[in-house]
């Protein structure tokens, strides 16, 4: 369980931040930060990412 952010693909646009219902994502100078205590792995951020840089893995081995 977890997520991966492809830092090479990410354009730091913040689309994912705007849809996160749990305010678990933040846009920092060096990219997107996910607060693992707030994240519920709902996957909404993955769906809105314009470049497909976020992958949420709801089961199985940790992808972080």
């Amino acid at each position: 369980m977890g997520w991966t952010i492809d830092r090479e693909k990410c354009l730091k646009c913040g689309a994912c931040v705007s849809v996160c219902p749990f305010l678990a994502l933040e846009l920092k100078d060096d990219g997107i930060k996910i607060d693992r205590n707030k994240c519920t792995l709902c996957g909404i951020c993955e769906k809105v990412c314009p470049v497909g840089a976020i992958k949420v893995n709801k089961g199985g081995k940790s992808a972080r």
Binding site: C13, G14, A15, S18, L23, K47
Partner: protein, 407 residues
């Protein structure tokens, strides 16, 4: 009053302001200018090192929108405009197009890295303290009231107090949400936007914007070409609820149109979320007002937000001024009422129209292109005279369902 200096020259940053504005886009600058013009003490913070870049925008404005912006900011200088536009070409999925020709300048593609800076300069000229490269990372709360912000400048943290905080921090809308006002938009109301600024294009008519519709081209959205010069344009896409990312569809479109793109280069890459609905009944709490993309104040059909943010910022400025002068924060609630009266009612109608349009099949879109003339399309895109449109469409048996939704 205690004062801070972020850098050794220039204005001193106070520890207390009447109003702190978060975000240096059109919404933030409009609010800051309106308030500073009235003599209030305003500080505006922008997270990024450069106001206006990188853009998350196709940069188009109609002449009407430019006039509204000029009512607040004064005459916009020429350097802010990349190219004047006199019409549009809208393509149905089968390639058939509808031409909209105004025969004169009807809009412009702006250069936002110049335009946004110019807007912020007008706020600064009016008396606002403007500081870029300064992140607002939290709000100061006392009970249920917002009383200021925490800022981070080059790793140093400062507390800046204010009577009101304006959250004009864009689509992420983190300031309002940290303050406890739920502005999270639904996934269905956020378009995924992706764009290249491209050069060396072979444009059909570089004085017209081009719009390409179709569920294979851009599911629940469209591809746009907004010319910034004879062979330069913003080429972008906005889509919703798609399995594949926006970038996939834009790259596919470019590959499938070698006539336009075979010799082109990419000179800038942009992406972002575009709010296209989900207007908020309440955009206010004690000591906080939300403006622009952060409050989803965007036209749901074309996704443009510069005009909406500017108007909302002006309304917010007027209301905040009254609240502070009368020392009564409950006056801030009038912002909801005024915005809904001036913009919200209309935009909600446009949102309903979008809900209809985005569900159209390619067949229906093709038939629409057969039936509609350029003039109809202009009204359609503005969400005006929908009843008249319904009457045109209802004559076509295949479009009766759509007609009924408009009437």
């Amino acid at each position: 009053m205690e004062q801070l200096r972020l850098i050794k020259v220039g204005r001193v940053l106070d520890k207390e302001y009447d109003v702190v504005v978060v975000g240096g886009g059109p919404g933030g600058s409009s609010t800051a200018k309106t308030l500073a013009d009235k003599g209030l003490r305003v500080a505006l913070f922008e997270k990024r090192p450069s106001i206006g870049s990188e853009k998350r925008c196709a940069e188009g404005l109609s002449i009407g929108s430019i006039k509204i912006i000029e009512d607040i900011f004064g005459k916009v200088p020429k350097k802010c405009f990349a190219r004047m536009i006199n019409g549009a070409i809208v393509y149905a999925p089968n390639g058939k197009n509808v031409l909209v020709d105004f025969g004169k300048d009807a809009g412009a593609i702006m250069e936002r890295k110049i335009f946004d800076k110019w807007l912020a300069m007008q706020a600064s000229k009016a008396g606002a303290y403007v500081q870029s490269k300064t992140e607002v990372y939290d709000v100061i709360k006392e009970g249920n009231s917002v009383r200021g912000v925490m800022i981070n400048f080059e790793g140093k943290k400062y507390e800046i107090r204010s009577k009101v905080v304006v959250a004009a921090d864009g689509v992420e809308s983190t300031v309002a949400r940290k303050a406890g006002l739920n502005t999270t938009n639904k996934l269905i109301n956020i378009d995924s936007g992706y764009q290249y600024e491209m050069s060396n294009l072979k444009l059909k008519d570089s004085k017209k914007i081009e719009i390409f519709m179709g569920n294979e081209i851009a599911p629940r959205g469209y591809v746009w070409i907004f010319p910034k010069g004879k062979d330069v344009a913003n080429v972008g896409i906005g889509i919703a609820m798609s399995k594949k990312p926006a970038r996939y569809y834009l790259d596919k479109f470019i590959e499938e149109n070698p006539k336009i793109f075979s010799e082109s280069s990419i000179i800038e890459v942009n992406s972002g979320g575009i709010p296209v609905g989900g207007f908020l009944e309440n955009m206010v709490m004690d000591g906080l007002v939300v403006v622009g993309d952060a409050a989803h104040q965007v036209n749901p059909i074309h996704g443009g937000g510069m005009k909406e943010a500017t108007i909302a910022g002006n309304i917010a400025g007027e209301v905040i001024y009254r609240a502070i002068k009368k020392n009564n924060m409950s006056i801030l609630k009038k912002y909801n009422k005024l915005w809904w009266k001036e913009r919200g009612k209309h935009l909600r109608k446009v949102e309903r129209l979008r809900e209809v349009v985005e569900k159209l099949s390619d067949d229906e879109l093709n038939k629409l292109a057969d039936v509609l003339k350029g003039e109809d399309l202009i009204e359609f895109s503005r969400g005006e005279r929908l009843l008249k449109l319904g009457k045109i469409l209802i004559k076509n048996p295949d479009l009766i369902q759509l007609a009924k939704k408009l009437m």
